[in-house]
Amino acid sequence: MLVIEALVDKVIELDNQIFLLKIHCPEIANSIKPGQFLNVRVSENIYPLLRRPFSICNVEGDYFYLMFNVFGEGTKILASKKYGDSIDILGPLGNGFNYIGDYDTAVIVAGGLGAAPFPYLIKKIEKGKNIISFIGGKTYREVITHEMKNISIATDDGSLGFKGNVVELLNEHLELLKKNKIKIFACGPNSMLRALKEFCLINNFECEVSTESAMACGFGICQGCPIESTKNQDKYLLVCKDGPVFNVRDIII
């Protein structure tokens, strides 16, 4: 965990107003794990004041990528970054995915910008394991397939792929999922994670989810990102420090 001034290499615009920020930073690129995140200070000014948390999207040599959409002031500034701009990064933060293990098929489930952490995870999953991806969005515009593998798509309005949500789409493939020893890795809106948790409990699937929360510091001191634990209801877990990746059975979504 360190605070470091890194250099922006470029901003790449994918389809649908989704951006990738490529940053040169060997210290982070060589140490970060899939599912961990970085807290980024978008400007030196006091507005926006707080850092913005982003999951690591991918790593290439001494470079890493963050994925974002333009949502508010902070991301607007990020989208305007140019080659050579410096950027203040705090990280790596949190716990990543446990992708090494006894399963033969990794099932990626992503809703909207929840696609962000998966290019790096997919790269790191050991050879010999299968990877299949289920990607959801409200409409075709929110579907992000960047660097995903063996993709099936669901949209709420049916404008692309299966009409319905991504968990309903998983259910359509239940027989196939049950034939393999799978582990699900998911990220997306809470409504999706909630439905997915129920689906995993009913079918007894292993599942890790990457959660999201408003937060200030990202390393455990502000206490701003509580999430309810199933094991001890007298105490919250913190998304930043105990997560952002959790076994779906350990949290109440």
Partner: protein
């Protein structure tokens, strides 16, 4: 050897420099120690402690506002017992004054917490939080009540020989009236200010952006208010003041000292740049040298009005 003497005195307390880390922005020290050498800091104020552990408020607890942030953490903390057993051992490894912040729901609870904690020799002083805006019982209910603040000060003082600092709320008409009663009842210093009550709404859902509806506003947005409150106390009451409120750089520290602070606390900035407090020490020294100030404490209350 330092040419400038950065050490400051706050009542009976001595600090190697005026920079303390504010309660609720430094946890119990262990996370911060990854970013800075705690031995170089003036002092650490712990997260508010209550007699029993507190779960705190449900999410969403935090939202950013222009040049500030609202928080409604709800005093989530491990409680006095776990603090003494599990958190203090780490802090003891450092040579840095440790101030325990206490928050309670009743006067008796303040007294009970102080009684237990005062036995621990690693604790240098207490900061009594009578001004948390985010809990139903205690907190601002006390912070807005002059006689309650007086009574808490008196009762806490009666069970400890250690210095007692009272952290006051800015959400009152005359903060100096509260400082006056703290002094009258034997309090050793004032921390000013705690956060300002604020709120924010989502214009699409029309719901408040934090679950508690209101929260405490901190960050640079509140600095001018904090400076005015420090000045008011300085002009009306003879009691040492620890200035708090939106400090982002070394110039802000100088400003707070000019307005009347003997020391200062850094809060929200710890979330953004946890290494900042150390980075500022050098600049404080340079400022003093440039202005031919031998002891930084000479700045306290040096306003030219």
């Amino acid at each position: 050897m330092n040419i400038v003497d950065l050490s400051v005195q706050v009542g009976p307390l001595n600090f190697r420099n005026p920079i303390l880390l504010a309660s609720g922005t430094v946890g119990y020290g262990n996370e911060m120690s990854e970013f800075l050498d705690l031995n170089k800091i003036g002092g650490i104020v712990t997260k508010s402690l209550s007699l029993k552990p507190r779960k705190g408020n449900p999410p969403q607890r935090i939202v950013e506002t222009p040049s500030g942030m609202l928080n409604a953490i709800g005093l989530a903390n491990v409680g006095v017992e776990v603090f003494l057993k599990e958190k203090i051992p780490f802090l003891k490894k450092y040579d840095v004054p440790l101030i325990c912040n206490i928050a309670a729901s009743t006067i008796e609870e303040y007294v009970e917490c102080t009684k237990i904690l005062t036995e621990e020799e690693a604790i240098s002083a207490f900061e009594i939080n009578v001004s948390c805006p985010n809990v139903k019982e205690g907190g601002l209910q006390f912070g807005n009540d002059i006689s309650a603040v007086g009574k808490i000060t008196e009762k806490v003082k009666s069970v400890t020989r250690k210095p007692v600092i009272v952290k006051l709320s800015p959400n009152v008409s005359y903060i100096s009236e509260f400082a006056k009663i703290v002094k009258q009842e034997g309090g050793d210093a004032i921390s000013a200010i705690n956060t300002l009550v604020g709120t924010a709404f989502d214009i699409n859902t029309r719901k408040p952006k934090i679950k508690n509806v209101t929260g405490g506003l901190s960050g640079p947005a509140i600095k001018p208010v904090a400076l005015a409150k420090v000045l008011e106390i300085k002009q009306k009451v003879d009691i040492p003041i620890i200035g708090i409120g939106g400090i982002m750089n070394w110039k802000d520290i100088i400003e707070f000292m000019i307005a009347g602070s003997s020391a200062i606390q850094i809060g929200t900035l710890n979330f953004i740049n946890p290494a900042a407090p150390i980075e500022m020490l050098q600049s404080l020294e340079s400022y003093c040298m440039k202005n031919k100030i031998e002891k930084i404490s000479q700045l306290t209350g040096s306003y030219q009005i």
